[in-house]
């Protein structure tokens, strides 16, 4: 019998991160769509948690042959069929867009009068999928505790006595297990976990009419509030990107065994960043990772799900939240809120085995302070302003441009000259510099005499 080899997407899934499509902003109108793929090899995980109840949804952007795809996830308890659910990528995309770092525009008022406008757009990550394999022997100490068909997925719940047996079993059953996975599997086995193994049932998928991987949700009850990332680092080439979207009842979540750091936010940037927002954000994020020596988890968004300001996308509907597993939706919250009684946290981690040797452990805090990655473009007043305030305003603009350039340089490490050149093209030239020659006034002062 010809056996299909399944490429195992261990631990958290792999997915591409592309920008979310924009949405309406509170005060103003939408300008454009940040349609760029920001991160390669990114996984997206939604964690819904209240008390010991957890619903984890994993989205995977696996791009290869679906027949070859499988996913192995350590789970703390036995999983029944009803605890597994297949959901849609659109919901996760929506959550991604809603929580994405955003670019906001303001227009300076006529210094001699008033006016306002504002726009926003957002960066997002992207969807993904999952998959899995079938059954075989049990002499290796591996027990197939259950086998389910869940929509287009074939799911196995395995327990094992030792890692070598599990590894052998997986290999015999056509799963490609990366070198070095034995020790990690062994550690999980000794901690009494089960393994949730999923692969795509192609026939079933064709019947359902899908051609891509849909996210898988698993609900369970366990005091462990964690995400197993160790298996995912075993065979990883380079670093991996992980987005965690947590939906909780009381407040934001944070990692307890790594530092959770807010991304820089509410900074004013040169106008040309509008066209390069994706590049800006990825460069800034990389720089922050470097600054923290890659030992930190970054907070990109923490907000009450009932609203947003500015909105990169509309808040999730109660139905969408329920679909993701927010089981307490209908209950009133402590602030007397409505059915959208959820606080969302977006964490972004760039990790590898060397810097993140341990799985991610979380806790829910009581912190309901809103936070968002927000970057501001401030358009200067371009009309006439002949009053004395107008003259003062123009004089202050130069300092503002210089500050914007420095902020951008500090955040991204981009070349200061390049920044200034691009700013000049956007009408944010340093007034001391002659736009025609690119020279400062003192550089021109004695030039004629010298020549």
């Amino acid at each position: 019998m010809k056996r299909q080899l399944h490429r195992v997407g261990l631990a958290v899934c792999l997915c591409l991160t592309a920008p979310g499509s924009p949405a309406h902003a509170f005060c103003g109108f939408f300008v454009g769509k940040a349609d760029t793929k920001l991160y390669n090899k990114a996984s997206k995980v939604v964690l819904v948690r209240d008390g010991d109840k957890t619903i984890i949804t994993m989205a995977n952007d696996y791009q290869g042959d679906l027949k070859e795809f499988a996913m192995v996830i350590p789970v703390p308890t036995f999983i029944e069929r009803e605890q597994i659910h297949v959901t849609s990528n659109a919901i996760i995309e929506h959550l991604d867009e809603y929580t994405a770092p955003r670019l906001v525009e303001y227009y300076d008022e006529d210094p001699c009068r008033t006016i306002v406008a504002m726009e926003s757009r957002a960066l997002g990550s992207m969807p993904a999928a999952a998959a899995a394999p079938p059954v075989m022997a049990k002499e290796l100490g591996v027990t197939v505790e259950a086998q389910y068909k869940v929509e287009e997925y074939d799911v196995l719940i395995l327990s094992a006595e030792e890692s070598s047996g599990l590894e052998t079993w997986l290999k015999q059953n056509g799963y490609r297990i990366p070198e070095g996975a034995t020790e990690v599997l062994g550690s999980y086995i000794k901690q009494g976990v089960r393994f949730f193994v999923a692969k795509v049932n192609i026939e079933e998928q064709e019947k359902l009419g899908f051609t891509f991987l849909r996210p898988l949700s698993v609900a369970f009850e366990s005091p462990k509030f964690m995400l197993p990332i160790r298996l995912g680092t075993v065979n990883a080439n380079g670093t991996q990107e992980l987005f965690i979207f947590a939906l909780t009842r009381n407040g934001r979540i944070e990692t307890t065994n790594y530092r959770t750091v807010r991304v820089p936010s509410d900074v004013e940037l040169p106008l040309f960043v509008e066209k390069e927002f994706s590049d800006f954000y990825t460069a800034m994020f990389s720089r922050q990772v470097e600054k923290e020596d890659m030992h930190a988890v970054f907070l990109e968004y923490a907000w009450d799900m009932n609203w947003c300001d500015p909105c990169a996308a509309s808040p999730m509907s109660p139905q969408e939240l329920e679909e993701l597993g927010v089981f307490w939706g209908g209950e009133p919250n402590r602030n007397g809120g409505d059915a959208r009684n959820a606080f969302v946290t977006r964490l972004h981690v760039r990790y590898d085995a060397a810097h993140f040797p341990e799985d991610l452990f979380f806790q829910e805090t009581g912190d309901r302070t809103n936070f968002q990655g927000r970057y501001v473009l401030r358009h200067p007043w371009t009309g006439t302003a002949d009053c004395s305030e107008g003259k003062d305003y123009r004089a202050r603009l130069a300092a503002r441009y210089a500050q914007d350039a420095k902020t951008l340089q500090d955040l991204t490490g981009w070349d200061p000259k390049e920044i200034k050149d691009k700013m000049a093209l956007n009408g944010q030239a340093d007034p001391k510099v002659d736009p025609a020659t690119g020279q400062k006034w003192w550089q021109r002062l004695w030039q004629k005499r010298k020549s």
Partner: protein
Amino acid sequence: MMLPKALRWFNTDARHYQMTCQSTLFLYGCLFLGFDVPWWLPAAFIGTTLTTQYLFTKALGLPHFDFRSPLISGLSLCLMLRTDTIPLAIFCAALGIASKFMIRWRGKHIFNPTNFPIVFALLFLDGVWVSPGQWGSAVWVAFLIACLGAMVVTRATRSDTALAVIGFHAAILFGRALYLGDPLAIPLHQLQSGTLLVFAFFMISDPKTTPYSRPGRILFALLVCLVAGWIQFGLFRPNGLLFGLAACSPLVPLIDFVLPGPAYRWDRASNQTKGMSHETSTTPSGLGGLPLPHGAR
């Protein structure tokens, strides 16, 4: 000369070093590690601990008000406890100082005045949390904390408790890793925790709530670490050490009974100003010829 006089005063009590170290760490955390601390939080913690201590001093008719113990408690809360709500901050700070005066056994308070309100809040209150990951694992930060902490405990002659806690905790972490077959990077990462060092050097090393004898303190450290290990790896809850300390604190009188030792006095630790007491006394005499350790810390 003002400076030598100030230095002499500074040297009269080991707690002056402790306050300096705690303030430095707190400022470092706020300025460089992005601690989640609104401006009012330190004001609420420190203001409340000082006020509560003052009120109890007056209510109990104690000879004089000592600002050091409540200030240290307030600073410890600043380093560890987080909340978005001012009333909760005030409640926790007041609870810690009140526990010091009200939960006592033979003149010695049972619970650490910082540990008690933190554990109480984590167990029973919403909107209060501890961020065990806030210090990160940067080695040099851990080193800095260790050095500063070591200075404090050495002067307070309780470095044995701190070192025992770190030793036992490390043994549990490495033992677990060996059992699981985990790479040593994992226990090393767990050990490189600023939170562990802050706990060891600034909380459990408090000489007023630990056993009097050295063997007693070592035993106490072992018990705390065992309970902490069970909470962390058996119950899968964070902040195991904090809960472990609270759970074991009521055993201190028993340990003192089984393994007796001389009572502790801050002023003796600094071998200065003999007979001077900085503590909040509730009983004027000692037991068996020894001065009783009254009040906090």
